[in-house]
């Protein structure tokens, strides 16, 4: 029996954003972020709890789902799963922002924008209409542009903001043009109606629909930082304040994939689409290979840690794209492989956020950005270095960390679907990634360094600890995560 509205997790995030703005209206000149951090963390925790409760308490939302507002929004297992992820990342990033932005001006804007973006992400995961999808996409993008350019006297930050904005504006224009073509071909923006039109045959409108699908894929690729709209990612992640990079590279990317999963699986069913010549699984196979090869090889040649993480984040987008690439019209493995991709995004949300938060910590200490600058940090700050080591090995997929299991399920699903060649490429890339991640680990532990580090910022440490728990302790708890994800994904194909 559901007494709360099904969209409660999304509403809570939005209300928290309004609460932050209200607080900032009453005390506009405050530079003390403790209350703002408190509001953000409590609000996101409430949202996380609501999503978790809906998922597990047998409310029926996880299996059946409900559609609201004339089918424009749907709440089901997948949307709740992703909302829980977004809320968790928001908690981590809010905690880290407390120390990172301590004493700076305009903290109200920072937390307000972050929560608004989180609201948009949660809405993206729930969007059942291309109109909702577009509005939610912009609700994520617009605050993100401002967040990247947040340090307004910093040249790198404003340059990163500009580049992110330029490519974002271009890709959202492409996305909306694609949506208009889909509307022209099918006469509706609601995904079930679009699917029905695909199934009953498009006639001579197949050409329009095909171009539309391609353009929608472009818009989604931007959010997920996948080829061909990945150019912004290294710049934006490098120039942005590190907590913002953490937020964008894990939550924003997951939101892009959440949208892609629903729009392509529900809206453009593969069977009729492929027989009409719009075989988008093939498109995603090409994109997956291009994205992971480019991301991993570029990451291997970097000499700044943050930029390396940015390229590795592109590489991970390539792995997750397997979740779409390995789908086929009649296979029973569809739910498994897409669920594995969702679980990988979930684990990635913790380990990648954690890695970027360590970079935030290093920036907070005033340590440089290059690999050499991290030399010897392990001896001086053992806890943070241990956490970073765990995040990096988990990102590389070393057993027995969380990242290993999610990758294992993902690759196994792809092999089952018959895409062994894709898995071979992915495994080669994955072992290459071990090389460049271990460069950081070597710098941390095996090189001599000399630093003058001031203290241990409490909130940043707390965020690191939570991310570490998410990465390491998810390991025995990985069963429920993958089960929930695969159940939610299978429900999408029903």
């Amino acid at each position: 029996m559901v007494t709360a509205p099904p969209l409660t997790p999304t509403f809570l995030l939005g209300l928290t954003a309004l609460a932050v703005l209200t607080y900032d209206s009453v005390w506009p000149d405050s530079t003390d972020g403790s209350v703002l951090t408190g509001i953000s963390v409590v609000g996101s925790l409430a949202s996380l709890a609501a999503a978790g409760w809906f998922l597990t308490a047998g409310t029926g939302l996880a299996t059946d789902g409900v559609s609201l507002y004339a089918d424009a929004v749907v709440v089901d297992g997948m949307s709740l799963f992703f909302t829980a992820l977004f809320a968790a990342v928001t908690i981590l990033v809010s905690l880290a922002s407390f120390d990172y932005f301590a004493g700076k001006e305009n903290q109200g804007e920072l937390f307000g924008l972050m929560l608004l973006a989180a609201t948009g992400m949660s809405l993206m995961a729930s969007a059942n209409s291309l109109a909702t999808a577009f509005v939610a996409l912009e609700l994520v993008s617009l605050p993100s542009y401002a967040l990247v350019a947040f340090l307004k006297n910093d040249r790198g930050s404003s340059e990163a903001g500009l580049k992110y904005f330029l490519i974002g504006a271009l890709s959202s224009a492409i996305f909306v043009f694609g949506v208009s073509l889909i509307y022209g071909a099918t006469g509706s923006l609601l995904l079930p109606d679009v699917a029905a039109a695909f199934e009953s045959g498009l006639g001579d409108r197949v050409g329009i629909a095909g171009v539309g699908v391609l353009m929608v894929a472009g818009g989604v690729a931007f959010k997920a930082a996948a080829v061909p709209f990945h150019f912004w990612a290294p710049e934006a992640y490098e120039g942005a304040p590190a907590p913002v990079s953490a937020f964008l590279s894990s939550a924003s990317k997951a939101a892009g994939f959440a949208l892609a999963f629903r729009v392509f699986v529900v809206g453009f069913p593969l069977g009729p689409a492929a027989s009409a010549g719009i075989d988008w699984a093939l498109l995603f196979q090409v994109l997956a290979v291009a994205t992971m090869v480019l991301g991993n090889f570029a990451a291997a040649t970097q000499d700044e840690v943050k930029r390396m993480l940015a390229y590795s984040s592109i590489g991970h987008a390539g792995y997750v794209l397997i979740g779409l690439a390995a789908l086929s019209a009649e296979a029973s493995t569809n739910g498994d492989v897409m669920g594995a991709a969702m679980a990988h995004l979930f684990v990635y949300g913790f380990m990648n956020t954690g890695a970027f938060l360590f970079v935030a910590l290093a920036e907070n200490w005033g340590v440089g950005r290059r690999f050499e600058d991290y030399n010897g940090l392990g001896a001086e700050k053992p806890f943070a270095a241990v956490a970073m080591t765990a995040f990096l090995f988990s990102l590389a997929g070393v057993p027995p960390l969380g990242g290993f299991f999610s990758k294992l399920f993902l690759f196994a699903g792809a092999v089952e679907a018959g895409l062994w060649w894709l898995v071979v490429i992915a495994v080669i890339n994955s072992s290459l990634s071990l090389f460049y991640y271990s460069r950081v680990v070597r710098a941390l532990w095996f090189e001599e360094g000399d630093h003058d580090l001031s203290g241990a910022p409490t909130a940043l440490y707390a965020a690191l600890a939570v991310a570490l728990i998410g990465t390491v302790v998810l390991l025995p708890g990985f069963g429920p995560v993958i089960e929930t994800a695969q159940q939610a994904a299978t429900a999408l194909f029903a």
């Binding site: 617009l142 500009l162 330029l166 909306v176 043009f177 022209g184 150019f231 290294p234």
Partner: protein, 100 residues
């Protein structure tokens, strides 16, 4: 009634002009104008198809696109302003403190 293909040709032309401007211009403000052209090309489609299908979905969607385009410009000009303060220029090729 004007056949819907004509509108498609018109919107494709407007979209391509926007895309061309976006790829060739170096001034950030002209860049914004090009993006507006592309968004309005989508609006032409929405309204033409709305008439053709006889439902109002497309018209309402075009209102949303207009609203979001305004918001995008507001954020975009803010970022361009910050860029101008830091680099004394609105040329998008000038900021190169990071490798591409």
């Amino acid at each position: 009634m004007v056949p819907v293909e004509y509108y498609l040709v018109l919107s494709a032309a407007v979209f391509s002009i926007g895309l061309f401007g976006l790829l060739t211009r170096e001034n950030a403000l002209l860049f914004l104008m090009s993006v507006e052209l592309m968004l309005n090309a989508a609006n032409i489609n929405f309204i033409a198809f709305s008439l053709q299908w006889g439902n109002l979905t497309g018209q309402v969607m075009s209102l949303f696109v207009m609203g979001l385009a305004a918001a995008e410009v507001a954020v975009g000009i803010g970022i361009i302003l910050v860029l101008y303060r830091n680099f004394k220029d609105v040329d998008v090729t000038v900021p190169q403190s990071m490798r591409w």
